[in-house]
């Protein structure tokens, strides 16, 4: 597949960086001229995946979070968010709505939000090696005349 643009980021798994991560990815997709709703969906999905890396992947300590994003010729965003942390022992359960191992303050909706706000979500994880979440979203092309 040919990509029209690519970027890579790595940053400390600190909760203060959740905002940085979602803002960086949303800036990266701006040339595709997404709607405000599409941008909100992308930012929310990124925020969920990055929070998972911090709360679950690196629950025992510090680490680095890696983001790779690509844009295809057809206007699709492909974004991979990866940690080298604890891993998910049971991916199927982890993706069930309301399932959480994160304690009372976690809603258990991270994957539900990612799946609803993005077109495609896939998860690969190995215990003690880490987790990679890859998400895709096609940005609908808008006729210039339609935009206010």
């Amino acid at each position: 597949m040919t990509y029209t643009n690519e970027m890579k980021l790595s940053f400390s798994a600190k909760s203060v960086n959740e905002s940085f991560a979602r803002t960086a990815v949303s800036s990266f997709v701006l040339p595709l001229d997404p709607t405000i709703a599409e941008l909100t969906e992308i930012k929310t999905a990124i925020s969920e995946a990055v929070t998972n890396c911090i709360v679950h992947g690196y629950k025992h300590g510090e680490g680095t979070i890696y983001i790779e994003a690509k844009i295809t010729e057809s206007g699709k965003l492909i974004v991979k968010i990866r940690d080298k942390g604890y891993g998910i022992p049971d991916i199927k359960s982890a993706m069930e709505p309301l399932f959480t191992t994160g304690g009372e303050e976690q809603a258990g909706l991270g994957f539900t939000v990612m799946q609803n706000f993005m077109d495609k979500v896939s998860v690969r994880s190995k215990p003690m090696k880490g987790t990679a979440v890859t998400m895709e979203k096609h940005i609908v092309r808008h006729l210039k005349n339609d935009r206010a």
Partner: protein, 100 residues
């Protein structure tokens, strides 16, 4: 960033800005400290000033619902802006009867 007012045992917390896992931790502590001190009969979470939110915001609501149940009070979520409606719909919080 967070404005909390009480009147006639009704506490209102005006949330604003971006509600993610990072900020929710701070907000949660402030609200819980005040509800434990004042024991209001109702806590209202006002979302009108929230520009961005992920499921951490839903976790914040669920946790305060439990907190208020423990002290025998009620929780209401008020002024959900249009850009957050989708997330609240996904959350299933409507079934708890806490959404305005």
């Amino acid at each position: 960033m967070l404005k909390i007012q009480s009147e006639n045992q009704v506490m209102t917390a005006e949330l604003s800005g971006e509600l993610d896992h990072h900020r929710c931790a701070v907000i949660r502590k402030k609200i819980d400290m005040l509800t434990e001190q004042e024991r209001p009969r109702m806590l209202r979470l006002d979302f009108s000033g929230v520009q961005f939110m992920d499921s951490s915001g839903i976790g914040l609501v669920m946790g305060r619902y439990r907190q208020m149940s423990l002290i025998g009070g009620k929780l209401m979520v008020i002024n959900i802006p249009p850009h957050l409606k989708n997330l609240f719909r996904l959350s299933g919080l409507g079934a708890l009867g806490v959404l305005e």
